[in-house]
């Protein structure tokens, strides 16, 4: 299990998957990210992040064959592993700590 730090984008992807429920595939993940961040998101960047996260052991994926999904294409579903929680929490802690006290200055 890699103990590497979580990049900002990776952090966002994990959260997006969480928000979507148990499992998610790339299309809703991209849509969720765009909806929440308000910016357009490159699908390829998401795929890279997904692969990296899986290599780090923070995600697990399964390939759903076309016969199962009913689509003409296979679909890969992603879900978080338990190991993902710790780096998520740490990342959040770091953000909150850095933000602490700065809200009044940066509030709009």
């Amino acid at each position: 299990m890699a103990r590497s730090a979580l990049g900002e984008f990776e952090h966002q992807v994990l959260l997006a998957i969480l928000r979507l429920g148990r499992e998610a595939y790339s299309v809703p993940i991209v849509a969720e990210l765009e909806a929440r961040t308000g910016k357009s998101v490159a699908t390829s960047a998401v795929y890279i992040a997904l692969r990296r996260l899986e290599k780090k052991g923070l995600l697990r994926s399964r390939l759903e064959a076309p016969e199962e999904s009913g689509e003409p294409y296979p679909r890969r579903w992603f879900r978080l592993t338990e190991e993902a929680l710790r780096p998520l929490r740490e990342s959040r802690k770091a953000y909150l700590s850095l933000w602490d006290g700065l809200e009044p200055a940066l509030d709009e």
Binding site: L18, G21, R22, E23, Y25, S26, V27, V30, A31, A42, T43, S44, A45, Y47, I48, R51, R52, E54, K55, R60, S61, R62, L63, G70, E71, P72, Y73, P74, R75, R76, R79, L80, T81, E82, A84, L85
Partner: protein, 899 residues
């Protein structure tokens, strides 16, 4: 979503190909599929050119990141090595271990909860382990005999009287020779013997046994052999088998003891064998269990004696024969014997009783009580911990939802909860078992004083296994409510509710109040039963025994036949004793009796009244004691009529007797008993006793006994060689004991003062079992109340916390503190009231089942029920009021902000 129609939008073909190249063959299909879906979504929502532009942007992005894509996707084996994890038994084990690690982490993060839960569990599981240890020793482990379920005792019975009597040798031989239900029948008797020689003179419990006694019981000696009939006859009966403890204590565990001689009752006996350490004489009475030496009982001369009834008999059932069948045969045989020997055996029959039923019967009610109480306490503990777990689980709803989103299957989540519960329970069990091991000494003394100590108590692997089993059951039990409520968790709702605070979701509220009801009910039952037992015990010991026990010391003396062969010899001995004791400073008065009250097995006889017709078969019975006339004064027994005979050591022509009030009423109803002459018939001889005094009734058999007719015969008329001495002393009885022991030794150093103790102690020892029941009942009730109360307090703390916001709003709207508190109390009050009602009903059922242990108190004694309900209600109200008050005190603005 289906494909196929021509007018569906298609993404730009070139862009598609670029993406496929960038991603690589393995993932090309799935990526293309995802992009297609997104493209079609956009094409459906807006202008087509926008969708195509978007698609191109994505394609460019893929191309620009092609290298990173390949690198990122590389795993051993290439770009499409996105393999799903396997599953199998090893995975399962790994998951359980990981669950356990989670559980430990969770426990550490909430130390207060963990400590409280573990302490509660340790109490509940530890108490049950202690009970199991006792029950194991009493019921589950075998008696120290070979195949004990095949052993029965044979008693004689008389004319429908409920009591059994000992057996006449003639009957014993008849049964032995004729009964087909048994492989063998042995006879024995118990008495005391004096050891002397090396070391102080010592009186020990002893037994005389027919040579087949040990083989019937299926006991092999540890050293040497037991005696055969032949060897015993040759040695003139002076052989002895010793107990293991005697061998160790008095003979230094001498390995060469076989063949050596020791002095018993002044005569040398050859030691032929040593019995195993766990052997006990098959007696119910604790003191008779500890027989330390066995000598041969040779009954050859008494083969046809059907009159002297003094033997006990034990028999081994033939394989395949049940006690019921044996009883049928023996009843028929007894009828035949009654016909064959009408004077001695008329109206008499035989009772066949299984040995384990006889030995353990007395202790059963108390053990049943313990089991019930233990189970109840355990359930309360589980309910308590379930409450705590459930309440805490509310805080963890968010966590559960996240974990469910993490892909934890329902089963996995439930397993996690159960593993947490079991781990908590195991830790509690470990603490509890350690407690039991440490308290083993206390358990042993409890067993010794209040139960049959036929078996040694061990805290061993069985107890540990039992604790683990209880922990597993308990862990699953109290994890269930939480597991149930966790199933209904959804991430969105959990996030919306802000799962950081305890909520009052209906799942928790419903199950939580059910648990409160259950706890209150169980605690109520235990408190009522405990109160009943305590009141019963109080009633028992406040029955006046008919004599005064304060400041009296007693002991037993027995003049052995070998040195005091004739009547004149032992009368002289007791005269010297009376004189010597009387001269001890601090002694106020001395008296003797053949049998102290509150000891069992009184002497009794049938009697007649002169001038009235006498029929042996229907003559009334009375107990009798042989006493020195000073006995009544020393014991504080009031003389109601007449005058006591003068203190006389020499037999006179005028034989007199003193009767108690009950007997006086029997022989002279409504009239004057003085002057009546009692007649005692014995094979043609008649002894006449003129009644000269009537004394107060004395409880001969214990606090719970009825008064019986008793008459007292002066020692001069009927001298005995064994007497109990009662000494009234000034000052503290304990101080006098040493001087008394020395005084007895001065008269004859080889006769020890046996059983030296105070009369008070004797009284108290007879109520050991009811006292045990009362103590244990009270203890369990106390524990139950404590646990239930902490449970109620805990649950309500959490519930109230969850309602802080609501209360803050109400307070802001003008509700007074009192109203708020009242609101909380009403809700919890309902649960408590329901629990009280159920508990009282349960208590009635339990009390009826245990009515055998109650004395002078009815199972539905209103004082006990009412009092318990009031106390529990008040205590529960307090437990509810405290957290309510605390929450209400909180600043309403803080409450509104979310606490």
């Amino acid at each position: 979503m289906t494909y196929g129609t021509e007018d569906r939008e298609h993404p730009p073909a070139l862009a598609r190909r670029l993406v496929r190249w960038a991603v690589g063959a393995g993932a090309a299909d799935e990526v293309e599929g995802a992009l297609l879906e997104a493209f079609r979504g956009r094409a459906g929502r807006g202008p087509r050119w926008r969708a195509r532009a978007w698609y191109w942007r994505q394609a460019v992005g893929f191309v620009l990141r092609a290298r990173s894509l390949r690198v990122a996707g590389e795993a051993p084996g290439g770009a499409d090595e996105w393999r799903p994890r396997g599953s199998g038994p090893l995975t399962w084990l790994g998951e359980v271990l990981s669950d356990a690690r989670w559980a430990v982490r969770a426990m550490r993060k909430r130390p207060t909860f963990t400590v409280v839960a573990v302490a509660t569990l340790a109490l509940g599981i530890g108490a049950n382990s202690a009970i199991f240890t006792l029950v194991d020793a009493q019921f589950l482990r075998a008696l120290p005999y070979g195949n004990p379920s095949g052993l029965v005792l044979l008693w004689e019975t008389d004319r429908g009287s409920p009591d059994v009597t000992t057996v006449a040798p003639g009957n014993y031989f008849a049964w032995k020779e004729q009964a087909s239900s048994f492989t063998d029948v042995a006879a024995y008797n118990v008495d005391v013997a004096t050891l002397s020689g090396d070391g102080d003179a010592e009186r020990v419990a002893a037994s005389v046994v027919t040579p087949d006694f040990f083989s019937v019981l299926g006991v092999e000696p540890e050293l040497g052999t037991t005696f055969s009939g032949e060897a015993a006859r040759q040695a003139g009966g002076d052989l002895v088998v010793l107990s293991h403890s005697l061998w160790v204590r008095r003979l230094g565990a001498d390995p060469a003891i076989i063949g050596k001689e020791i002095r018993i009752d002044g005569r040398p006996h050859t030691v032929v064998g040593i019995l195993p350490a766990d052997f006990r004489q098959p007696e119910r009475d604790l003191s008779w269990q500890r027989v330390e030496l066995w000598r041969p009982l040779l009954l050859d001369a008494e083969h046809d004696d059907f009159h002297s009834r003094y033997l006990r008999t034990v028999a081994r059932l033939r394989p395949g024969v049940t006690p019921v069948r044996a009883q049928a045969e023996m009843t028929a045989m007894a009828a035949r014997m009654a016909e064959a020997h009408p004077e001695e055996n008329a109206g008499r029959s035989v009772l066949v009783k299984s040995l384990d039923g006889y030995l353990l019967g007395d202790a059963r009610p108390v053990l049943v009580l313990l089991l019930i109480a233990g189970a109840a306490v355990f359930l309360i503990v589980c309910a308590n911990v379930a409450n705590l777990t459930l309440a805490r689980g509310q805080e963890r709803r968010g966590e559960f939802a996240v974990r469910a989103a993490l892909g934890a299957r329902q089963g996995r989540l439930l397993r996690q909860i159960v593993v947490e519960g079991v781990m908590l329970a195991l830790v509690g069990a470990a603490v509890g078992t350690v407690g039991v091991m440490l308290g083993r000494g206390g358990l042993e003394s409890l067993q010794e004083r209040y139960f049959s100590s036929l078996l040694t108590l061990t805290v061993d692997a069985r107890v540990v296994a039992f604790s683990v089993l209880v922990a597993l059951v308990g862990g699953i039990l109290f994890a269930l409510p939480l597991a149930r409520s966790a199933r209904r968790v959804e991430l969105r709702s959990a996030l919306v509710e802000g799962g950081g605070r305890a909520g009052t979701g209906s799942g928790f509220g419903g199950t939580g109040s059910l648990l409160v009801v259950g706890q209150v009910a169980l605690a109520t039952t235990l408190v009522v039963v405990g109160t009943l037992l305590t009141r019963s015990f109080d009633r028992l010991v406040s029955v006046p025994p008919g004599f005064e026990a304060e400041g009296r010391v007693t002991f037993d003396l027995s003049a052995p036949r070998s040195r005091y062969p004739d009547r004149a010899d032992y009368v002289g001995y007791f005269r010297d004793i009376e004189r010597e004791i009387g001269s001890v400073p601090g002694v106020q008065s001395v008296a003797m009796t053949s049998d102290l009250p509150f000891t069992t097995e009184n002497d009794w006889t049938t009697f007649g009244v002169e001038g009235r017709p006498y029929d042996e078969r229907t003559a009334p019975r009375a107990d009798f004691h042989v006493t020195l006339p000073g006995y009544f004064g020393v014991m504080g027994i009031p003389v109601l009529q007449g005058r006591l005979p003068a203190e006389v050591w020499d037999p006179s022509a005028d034989t007199v007797a003193v009767v108690n009030r009950h007997m006086a009423g029997m022989i002279a109803p409504g009239g004057d008993a003085l002057g009546t002459v009692l007649t005692l018939h014995n094979e043609g001889d008649v002894m006449r006793l003129r009644v000269v005094a009537v004394v107060g009734d004395v409880l001969d058999d214990g606090f719970s006994a009825r008064t019986e007719p008793i008459f007292y015969v002066p020692y001069a008329t009927w001298p005995q060689r064994s007497m109990s001495v009662v000494v009234r002393v000034r000052g503290k009885p304990a101080d006098a004991m040493r001087s008394l022991r020395l005084a007895v030794a001065r008269v004859d150093p080889d006769i020890p003062a046996a059983g030296l103790g105070t009369l008070n102690d004797l009284l108290h020892s007879t109520v050991a079992r009811p006292r045990a029941a009362s103590l244990l009942g009270g203890l369990f009730a106390l524990v139950a109340v404590l646990v239930a109360v902490t449970g109620i307090y805990g649950v309500l703390s959490y519930t109230v916390q969850g309602r802080i916001r609501e209360m803050g709003i109400r307070a802001a709207l003008g509700a007074s503190r009192g109203r708020l508190v009242g609101m909380v109390l009403t809700d919890s009050g309902r649960s408590v009231a329901l629990g009280l009602t159920a508990g009282l009903a349960g208590a009635f059922v339990a009390a009826s089942a245990l009515s055998g242990l109650l004395f002078g108190v009815r199972p539905w004694d209103p004082v006990s029920y009412l009092g318990s309900a009031l106390v529990l209600g008040a205590v529960a109200a307090l437990a509810a009021w405290l957290p309510a008050r605390r929450a209400v005190r909180a600043d309403p603005r803080e409450a509104l902000r979310g606490g």
